[in-house]
């Protein structure tokens, strides 16, 4: 029998705000434990929440980008359950009047466009963190409340994905949108973007969904992909052997790359949601929505299409460039300086991204601004310097912050395009390599490459290779 996999994803993204959802504590990652808390986010009795307006606006950006219906009036609800990372033993979330519902996200898999439904987009507060001491003998768990109260966006997809590839495309597209609109920095290694997958299988053509297995502890997109593949195999094997897959929550074991049932008792989930009485409803007027729309930059999908259609970028290049908004912005600013788009893309995907990866930094931290890069590219396309010297100059710009022209000037890296100046060098190289000259004269064209290489070496890369070739031809009387 043929089976299809049915996948829905729940995404949690921490908002890119300065302060928490309901109090003024910072949301910085990696601060020492319990140094970014106050009576409100510690859940002390008597304290009250006040909503961070910017978090609501970021939520609205997401809801608009995902083409949701926006609630005219939205409100917070309490989700009641006991857990040590949740100081109030309820999470302020949304259940009855979500910020946005019934949206959709277009993804592309193997060149095919596909739509994934979005059930809802809502706001909530993050929980604290439980730390298990490294000392295995330690008989306690430590609680750090720094993260408690961090504004969180939850995006619940419909079970519309049918393969790990589709899930992968969905996650990447979603992350690109969240980054593009400055909603979240989406750093999975810091936990600012997290996924939970609901996975079931059913015979192809079946109408009813199979029992759903919820997989948690997915700390990277590749873990989600692997977990989906693993669950598919596991569930199909159960069905093939005549069994049934129980609905349950599983944890992904990163080391062993398998899913494991949660060991703690599965409590009957009765969250007793009710309207949060400490907060008042939020009315979203058309005027407010217009303001939010004005603050929203172009969505990644539209930008990719524009780069392909108007700037003639290959789709692959457009995909790579648009994945991160700062890089796409950098690219566009470089092109605005008059650089041919494909050339700019090559430089950015090559040298610029290489340096970013080496230095583990963001493009905004790079001392080379788009006009500076454009100047450098101009020197190369005008044959003032060779491509390889260009790369060296770029490296120098990244370390010194100097302009390309300055570096070329200082280090005398300008290409020798003056035939008189180069002729002397060529003559010397020909004199030093009689065997190669003989080979060339007997018709072996590769000897010419060798000679040009020698000329480049003698000029430390500054010779204009085209001119050098012409001079060889002339001086060997060919």
């Amino acid at each position: 029998m043929q089976y299809e996999t049915v996948i829905g994803l729940e995404t949690h993204a921490q908002f890119h705000t300065r302060s928490k959802m309901f109090c003024g504590c910072k949301t910085d990652f990696g601060a020492p434990p319990n140094t970014q808390t106050c009576p409100v986010c510690q859940g002390l009795p008597g304290t009250l929440p006040v909503v961070n307006r910017y978090a609501v606006e970021l939520g609205l950006r997401a809801a608009l980008a995902l083409r949701c219906h926006i609630a005219p009036v939205t409100q917070f609800d309490r989700k009641n359950y006991f857990y040590p990372d949740l100081p109030k033993n309820y999470q302020v979330s949304q259940n009855y009047h979500n910020l946005g519902v019934d949206g959709r996200l277009e993804i592309e898999v193997d060149g095919q466009a596909r739509e994934v439904g979005i059930w809802n987009v809502h706001l909530e507060e993050d929980a604290g963190k439980l730390e298990h001491p490294e000392d295995t003998g330690a008989n306690y768990t430590a609680i750090d409340l720094n993260r408690a109260g961090t504004p969180l966006l939850e995006i619940v997809s419909a079970p519309d994905m049918r393969s790990a590839g589709e899930a992968n495309a969905y996650m990447n597209e979603l992350a690109a949108i969240l980054r593009h609109l400055d909603i979240s920095d989406c750093k999975m290694q810091e936990g600012s973007l997290r996924f939970e997958a609901g996975i079931s299988v059913r015979p192809v053509g079946g109408e009813k969904f199979g029992n759903r297995v919820e997989v948690k502890n997915l700390n990277s997109m590749s873990a989600v992909v692997k977990a989906i593949e693993h669950e598919r195999e596991r569930q199909v094997a159960v069905l093939e052997s005549g069994g049934t897959v129980p609905s349950q929550t599983m944890l992904w074991d990163v080391q062993r790359e398998v899913t494991e049932p949660m060991r703690s008792k599965e409590e009957a989930k009765d969250y007793r949601y009710f309207p949060e009485p400490d907060l008042v409803p939020i009315e979203i007027s058309p005027e407010w929505l217009d303001q939010v729309r004005e603050q929203m930059s172009e969505l990644p999908a539209a930008r990719r299409k524009r780069f392909i259609a108007e700037l003639d970028l290959p789709p692959y290049d457009a995909g790579v460039i648009v994945e991160q908004k700062p890089i796409a912005d950098y690219f566009e600013q470089t092109v605005e300086q008059g650089v041919e788009p494909k050339t700019a893309a090559n430089w950015i995907m090559g040298e610029v991204m290489r340096v970013l990866n080496e230095r583990l930094c963001e493009i905004d931290d790079l001392p080379v601004s788009p006009p500076m890069l454009a100047e450098l590219i101009g020197l190369v396309t005008d044959d003032r310097i060779s491509n390889s010297v260009g790369k060296t100059v770029f490296g120098e710009m990244c370390s010194s912050g100097k302009k390309a022209g300055e570096i070329v000037e200082e280090k005398g890296l300008a290409q020798i395009s003056d035939s008189g100046e180069l002729e002397a060098v060529v003559k010397q190289v020909l004199a030093d390599n009689p065997d190669a000259v003989a080979d060339l004269e007997s018709g072996k064209q590769q000897a010419k490459g060798f000679l040009i290489g020698q000329i480049m070496r003698a000029t430390r890369g500054k010779a204009n290779p085209k001119l050098a070739g012409e001079l060889i031809d002339r001086l060997t009387g060919d």
Binding site: S19, G24, N52, P84, D85, D144, S264, I282, E283
Partner: protein, 98 residues
């Protein structure tokens, strides 16, 4: 009318994280049954088309700006903790994350 059985009371106690002795269970069952039975006076009222009212005041859109304020010192944060390390609250080992 909804009869509150000891099973219901046990479930509710479990959700509320309360342990009841047999004696307490019997006592609460009787009282809760009586009180919840009384609550059913509301069923005699037709509330079709009536909007629920969660807040007495019709307030809307109360926000704070996204500005950072000083956090509490860790010493203050942990001052009331019944069990703690130098930097965190301590609880018995929690096996899995939620």
């Amino acid at each position: 009318m909804t009869r509150i059985t000891t099973d219901t009371v046990e479930q509710v106690a479990d959700l509320s994280k309360l342990i009841l002795s047999d004696e307490e269970l019997a006592g609460f069952q009787e009282q809760l049954d009586k009180i919840i039975g009384y609550f059913e006076v509301l069923n005699s009222l037709d509330t079709t088309g009536v909007e629920p009212l969660a807040h007495p005041l019709d307030l809307r859109n109360v926000f704070r700006q996204d500005t950072v304020e000083d956090s509490a010192s860790r010493k203050d944060a942990l001052a009331n903790a019944p069990d703690k390390t130098d930097e965190a609250y301590k609880v018995p080992v929690v096996i899995e994350s939620s």
